[in-house]
C-alpha cells in the first residue's frame, strides 16, 4: 500500500511538471500582450514587462470590426461542427459496421483524400466555388464539413470498430434498421469521440486563415483571425497588440474544450495505471 501511495505521488509530480511546461506559451503570450512595443522588441528578451499595459487590449479592440468578425467566425465554426458531427459519424458508422458494395476501396479513397496537399487543389476549389456562386460568402468555409471530411470519418470509424457487436445484435432483434441502430445505440455510445471531433473541428475552423482570405473579399465578411492579421501592415504591426487580440480569440476554443471535456472521463476510474 505504501509504495502505491508513493507511486501516486510521483505520478502527480510528473503531471504537474508537464502541465506547467504546457502553460508556458499561455503565460508568455499573456506577458507579451501587456508589453509596450519597446519592451516587446527588447534584447535580451524580457519575460515580464515593467508595467502591465492593459491598454493594449482596449486599443486593439477599437481597431477593426471585431464584433462582426467574431460573429462570422462563430457562424462558420458552429455550422462546421454540426455538419462534421452529423456527416462524419454517419459515414464512419457505415464504414465500421455495414457491408455495402465497394466498401473497402471507398475507404481507401477516404484515406487518399487526406493525402492530397491542400495547396495544389486551392485553385480548383476556388473555381468550383466560383461556379457555385459562393465566393465572398461564408458558405465555402463550412459547407465542406457537411460532406464528411476524411479525418472525421476515420476518427468515428475507429471508435465504432471498438463497440462490442452484442449491442448491434440486440438492436437488430428489436427490429431496428441500420440507421436506427446508429441513432439509438452507436451515437450515445460514442459521445467522447463526438466531443473530440467537435473540439477539433471548432478549433480548426476558428483558427483557419488561408481559406477565408482566399474566399472572402469584403472586409465585413472577414473571420476573426483574418481580421487580426489585417491589423498589421506590410511594414509594421504593433505585434504586442496583435498578441492581445489573438489571446482574446482563444477564449471560445477554451469554452468549447471545457464543455466537451466532461465526456472524456465518464465511467472509468481504472485505466491500467494507478
Amino acid at each position: 500500500m505504501k509504495h502505491r501511495r508513493f507511486a501516486r505521488f510521483v505520478g502527480y509530480l510528473l503531471i504537474t511538471i508537464s502541465a506547467l511546461a504546457m502553460v508556458v506559451p499561455f503565460v508568455s503570450a499573456l506577458m507579451n500582450s501587456l508589453k509596450t512595443y519597446k519592451e516587446f522588441t527588447a534584447v535580451p528578451p524580457k519575460w515580464v514587462p515593467d508595467v502591465f499595459r492593459w491598454a493594449n487590449y482596449s486599443e486593439v479592440l477599437q481597431q477593426g470590426n471585431f464584433g462582426q468578425f467574431t460573429w462570422n467566425s462563430l457562424i462558420v465554426s458552429l455550422l462546421s461542427v454540426v455538419g462534421a458531427l452529423v456527416s462524419c459519424s454517419m459515414v464512419g458508422y457505415a464504414f465500421a459496421r455495414l457491408n455495402f458494395p465497394m466498401k473497402k476501396p471507398l475507404f481507401v479513397m477516404v484515406l487518399g483524400t487526406m493525402m492530397i496537399p491542400p495547396m495544389v487543389i486551392l485553385i480548383p476549389h476556388f473555381i468550383i466555388f466560383q461556379k457555385l456562386h459562393m465566393l465572398d460568402t461564408l458558405t465555402p468555409l463550412w459547407i465542406i464539413e457537411w460532406l464528411a471530411q476524411p479525418f472525421g470519418i476515420f476518427l468515428m470509424r475507429q471508435a465504432y470498430l471498438t463497440i462490442p457487436k452484442e449491442y448491434e445484435e440486440s438492436a437488430k432483434l428489436e427490429g431496428c434498421n441500420p440507421f436506427q441502430t446508429y441513432r439509438r445505440i452507436f451515437i450515445p455510445m460514442s459521445l467522447p469521440t463526438l466531443a473530440t471531433l467537435a473540439i477539433f473541428t471548432f478549433m480548426a475552423k476558428w483558427n483557419e486563415i488561408l481559406l477565408p482570405v482566399i474566399y472572402l473579399t469584403s472586409n465585413e465578411k472577414y473571420t476573426l483571425p483574418v481580421g487580426i492579421l489585417s491589423l498589421a501592415g506590410q511594414w509594421f504591426g504593433n505585434e504586442q497588440q496583435m498578441v492581445a487580440a489573438a489571446l482574446l480569440s482563444l477564449i471560445p476554443i477554451l469554452i468549447v474544450f471545457l464543455f466537451a471535456e466532461k465526456y472524456f472521463v465518464q465511467n472509468h476510474t481504472a485505466s491500467g495505471i494507478k
Partner: protein, 318 residues
Amino acid sequence: MVQPAAGSSRRRGDPVPALQRVKPNREGGWGLLMVSPYLLHFIVFVAGPLVASLYFSLSDYDMLNPPRWQGFGNYERLVGDPLFWKSLGNTLYFAVLFVPLQTFLALLLALALNQRLKGLKLFRMAHFIPVISSWTVILYVADAIFNPRFGMANEWLTRVGLQPQNWLQDERLAIPLLVFIAVWKGIGYIMVIYLAGLQNVPNDLYEAAEIDGAGAFRKFRFVTVPMISPTTFLVVVMSTITTFQAFEQIFVMTGRGDFASAGSPNNSTLVLMLHLYREGFTFMRMGYASALAWVLFIVLFLLTMAQMKVQKKWVHYE
C-alpha cells in the same frame, strides 16, 4: 471481381456477393445511403481537382496564364532536383522521429489523466494550451529557451560546463529540436483522441484482469494496449499524413516571418511542403509543384497501405 470488405464479412459469416449491386440487399443499400455525403464530397471536391492537378503536373503552368501541356517534363525535373531529394529525406527523418515519440508519450499522458481525480480537469486543459497556441507564440517560447545568444538552454549548458549549442541554427540539431517542439505542441491533441478512445475500453476487462491478479503493467500491456489499438492505428496514420503536410511550423520556426530563410540552415529543415509551396506560389511553377504533390501523394499512399497491411497483425477490432 469485387469482394466485400474482408474484415466485416468475417464477423457476419455470410459474405454478400458484390454483383448484387443491381438489387442490393438492405444493408448494402443502407450502407451506400449512409456514406453518400462522402460520395458527394468525392465527386464534387476531390475527383475534379485531382484530375486538374494531374493535368497541371503534366503542364507548364504559372497560374497567371493557362497551362500548356508538356508531358513528363516536370517529373523529369523532379528526379534531377537535389532539393526535392533533400526535402523528401528531411520529411522522412522528421516523421520517423516524430510519429512514434508523440504517439507513445500521448498514450502515457492520456492514461495518467484518464482518472476521476480532483484537479485532473485543470491538468487536461493545461495540456491542450500549446495545441491552441499559434506557431508564432510557440516560436517566442522556443526562442526564449533555445536562442543561441540569450536562451536559457545555453545558460544551463555553460553552467554545468558543457559547450553551448547553436540549436535551430545547427544542421544536425535542427530537425530533432523541431520534433521536440512539435511533440510538445501536439501531444495534447493526440491526448484528446486517446482520452476519447479509452472511454470505449470496457471496465469489466480491467476487473477481470484484477481478479486474475494482474498488476498495473500487465493490465496496461494486456488490456489497455490491445483495446486501444484501433485508436493507435488512427493516430499513427494521421500523424504520418500531417507530418508529410507540415508547412506552417517549419515556415514559422525556421523562417521567422522571412520566407527566404525558411528551411535554414543550409536547407537542413527544408520539408516537402515548404519546397512545394515555394515552387508553386513563390516561383510561379504550379506545374512543377503539382508534380511534387503527386509524388508526395504516392509516397504517402504506399506508406499508408503498408500501415493498413501491418495493422492486421496488431490492431484488435471487435
